[in-house]
């Protein structure tokens, strides 16, 4: 059982635009569909869907979250071994390698292309040494 778009879908196409594996199809204003063989279960479609129409493999509706509130990875460079697993794990190519510090010649990962991040958490899942955590953005206090 993969992810599924239910009949409340309004056919806005937001999910098509965000899906990193390009596995959603559908005509405008018609119910969209997910190709279960290619869906990687990143949940991005569910988080973006304005009509709450995407259910996960357990049949639960994925909650819509405002894009600005999506969780993003934070890297702990003390634990990180610069192995680049997360860079390759990221389906959107949001993670880049930073410039090395003068004393430490290794290049550590950072969210260099933050706009691409869809908050899927695959980087966290694949990091072998738990050097990444997903955190919600902290809203700036009004001045």
């Amino acid at each position: 059982m993969a992810f599924n778009i239910i009949e409340t879908c309004i056919g806005c196409g937001a999910c098509i635009r965000i899906c990193p594996s390009g596995c959603i199809t559908g005509e405008k204003k018609e119910r969209h569909a997910i190709d279960p063989t290619l869906c990687m279960e990143c949940s991005a479609c569910g988080r973006i869907c304005p009509s709450g129409s995407v259910e996960n493999r357990l049949g639960q509706i994925i909650q819509r979250v405002k894009r600005a509130q999506w969780e993003k990875p934070r890297f702990d460079h003390k634990t990180c071994m610069a192995c680049t697993i997360c860079v390759e794990a990221c389906p959107t190519g949001a993670i880049t390698l930073g410039e090395p510090a003068s004393k430490d010649p290794h290049a550590y990962p950072e969210l260099g292309l933050e706009k691409r991040c869809i908050g899927c958490g695959f980087c966290v899942k694949e990091c072998p040494v738990t050097a990444i955590a997903m955190t919600a953005p902290v809203e700036a206090l009004p001045a």
């Binding site: 990193p20 680049t84 390759e88 949001a94 010649p105 290794h106 040494v129």
Partner: protein, 652 residues
């Protein structure tokens, strides 16, 4: 599928332009693992007997490892397999970088290409699209230009490219395949197979998930491994590695090496850490294998001391899933701005083997060879061969546009390599390696052509470690320094996890290394078997050097695939793959005995001075003993028909 492997391969026929997927039965993975084992199984069954390596019937496989992408460490190696045009035998080349996970992210454990295109093409593959695309505009471009152009054209996150340079295009038999702008799958001449197929590149941009059976267990084992890797006490300065090497030469006893020491060197400098230590020990061949550490003493090797390389290192370079990062990107002040940090093999092949002390020329040639897509070991070895021919008067200035090919002349090395890379003048004759060149030159030149079955050996002297002599001569892909050696066996420490294999004491008499004994073959057989497990899993050999209790490859495999095999079972699997590769050679008419390395590398005649003075390796006995270890005919090295049938099909 929660097994770590993808269970499918992609097959491409460039002649008919057909592309299809094939599902691989689980029994194949259980019998041969993924990676090179799966590759051997496919190629044994798919390449018809005596196929022309440069013809449409040869099949080239781009393989990922079973452990790649499972959360394990040091498992980013990818492998290319095919029938070698250089040796006519089983061909394999192994490379790091980031191409290995890219193969699996497209949903495959391997991508196989057969047939031949009329015009230059590249293969593009992502989650939806598998296409043969036109590469006419890329033909003639170097590997860095090609990669940059393709990344730009396909414009996909994390797209990865494997490509050939002009050397592969011009069917140089010592050309390789490049990824990450100059990391080469260099050996066996497989770049020429791509060139002959007119396949300029393979571009991958999939995003599929790699799902192991038990990722948490894999991570737990990875954390143990990483703790050992991060243990990095301060270490001596670069030039001080030389006296350490000298001490190892002088001592009458050998302290069995704990690979942790080499790990510390690798993490600090990379493989160039051996630039001075190895020649001092007697491990580096000097002056086309006729020199010794006395010809390449401390003062000569000083210009390439390890610190020289880390001083211009802009950033360390990690292959996928590597916690160590032995690579680097170096700034150079020559024609090119940057280059991958040259490896020890490259430095010695272009340095000590040619007596060349000019390290700037090595940086330049390293980048030139990477861009041209040529094997730096074979290229350096061929240059050294030409220099000896010049010394003997077989090649003269009339052949070299007036350039004096004298030992140690950096201009001569540059001249030769530039000519080879472009296949111009004398370079046309040399661009297919020492064996082909010697046959064309004649006049007794073959005496100076050091090779095993046509493959120039790595920069490790078989007179110092007889294990190298054995592996150079018996491996189905001959002449390779990466399949085993006495030293490797010490570092693997396999006896700590597997039963029934020789245990090495913490200290032993050096002289015992050079005595004829069945022990060499016993150890050699375990090395080969283990290397097949490593190559099935996609593990980096340097990672495995830290010792079997610290890098738990067998446990990782069980956790990834959900198997319950013992280390002994895995070594049995490694033996099966070895028999399969040997059967491949027999099928293609290779006489195993003919792959014996050239006499000079065996100490026939023995050297009269230096670290390896008086040493001769009785490799004939070792080869026969080794073949017996696998149950093959010890007089011919051939597995019986019954054994071949059993091990190549194995219930499939």
């Amino acid at each position: 599928m929660k097994k770590g492997y993808m269970g499918k391969v992609l097959v491409v026929d460039l002649s008919t332009r057909e592309i299809w997927e094939e599902t691989i039965p689980d029994t194949v993975y259980k019998s041969y693992l993924s990676g090179m084992g799966l590759g051997a199984w496919m190629l044994y069954n798919r390449i018809p007997a005596n196929a022309d390596p440069l013809g449409p019937d040869n099949m080239l496989g781009f393989m990922s490892g079973l452990l790649t992408g499972t959360g394990s460490l040091f498992t980013g190696r990818w492998m290319v397999v095919g029938k070698s045009p250089l040796t006519g035998a089983w061909g394999e080349a192994n490379c790091g970088g980031h191409f290995s996970p890219a193969i699996k992210r497209c949903g495959f454990d391997g991508i196989f290409v057969r047939g031949k295109s009329d015009t230059p093409v590249y293969l593009y593959c992502d989650d939806h699209v598998r296409e043969i695309r036109d590469a006419t505009s890329l033909w003639g471009q170097d590997t860095v230009e090609t990669e940059n152009a393709l990344i730009k054209t396909v414009n996909r996150p994390n797209a990865k490219v494997a490509c050939i340079g002009p050397a592969g295009e011009s069917i140089s038999l010592i050309s390789g395949i490049s990824t990450d702008k100059g990391r080469m799958a260099a050996r066996s001449g497989l770049g020429a197979v791509m060139g002959a197929k007119r396949l300029k590149a393979v571009v991958l941009a999939g995003t599929q998930r790699i799902v192991p059976h038990n990722r948490d267990e894999i991570k737990r084992l990875s954390q143990i491994c990483n703790r050992w890797v991060q243990f990095q006490p301060p270490f001596i300065s670069g030039p001080l590695t030389a006296p350490v090497g000298a001490l190892m030469r002088i001592l009458p006893t050998v302290l069995t090496q704990d690979g942790l020491l080499y790990k510390i060197l690798l993490k600090k400098w990379g493989t160039v850490s051996m630039n001075q230590m190895s020649p001092e020990m007697g491990d580096s061949p000097i002056k086309n294998w006729k020199g010794t550490n006395k010809d390449w003493g401390f003062s000569k090797s000083y210009s390439s001391n390890p610190d020289v390389f880390t001083k211009c290192e802009r950033v360390k370079y990690h292959c996928y899933s590597c916690p160590l990062g032995c690579g680097g990107i170096c700034l150079t002040n020559g024609k090119y701005q940057e280059t991958h940090k040259p490896e020890y093999e490259t430095v010695l092949a272009l340095g000590g083997l040619c007596m060349n002390q000019d390290v700037d020329s090595i940086f330049y040639l390293n980048e030139l060879l990477n861009r041209m897509g040529m094997d730096s070991i074979s290229a350096g070895a061929t240059a050294a061969f030409a220099m000896e021919c010049f010394e003997k008067g077989i090649i003269t200035t009339a052949d070299t546009d007036g350039v004096e090919l004298t030992w140690g002349n950096p201009k001569a090395v540059e001249y030769l390599i530039e000519k080879m890379a472009r296949r111009e003048g004398i370079g046309d004759l040399l661009a297919d390696g020492v064996k082909v060149a010697a046959a064309k030159i004649g006049n007794g030149a073959d005496e100076y052509a050091i090779h095993a079955g046509g493959q120039e050996p790595g920069m490790h002297d078989s007179r110092n470690d007889p294990g190298f002599a054995l592996h150079y001569s018996v491996e189905p892909a001959p002449g390779r320094h990466t399949n085993g050696a006495g030293l490797y066996y010490e570092m693997y420490q396999l006896w700590k996890v597997a039963k029934g294999i020789p245990k090495i004491p913490p200290m032993y008499l050096k002289s015992s290394k050079y005595k004829t004994s069945k022990r060499h073959a016993e150890i050699g057989a375990v090395n080969s078997k283990f290397m097949n497990v490593i190559n099935g899993a996609g593990v980096c050999m340097f990672g495995s050097f830290i010792g079997a209790k610290r890098i738990r490859i067998f446990d990782w495999l069980n956790a990834a695939a959900g198997w319950q095999f013992t280390p002994e079972d895995y070594l049995e699997t490694g033996a099966r793959v070895q028999t399969l590769k040997q059967a491949f050679n027999i099928k293609h008419g290779i006489e195993p005995k003919a792959n014996k390395i050239t006499d000079r590398a065996l100490g026939i005649a023995a050297q009269t001075q230096g670290a390896n003075k008086g040493r001769t390796v009785d490799v004939d006995t070792m080869m026969a003993d080794y073949w017996e270890e696998f149950g093959w005919d010890p007089s011919t090295g051939k597995p019986s028909q019954e054994m071949t049938n059993r091990e190549t099909i194995n219930g499939i």
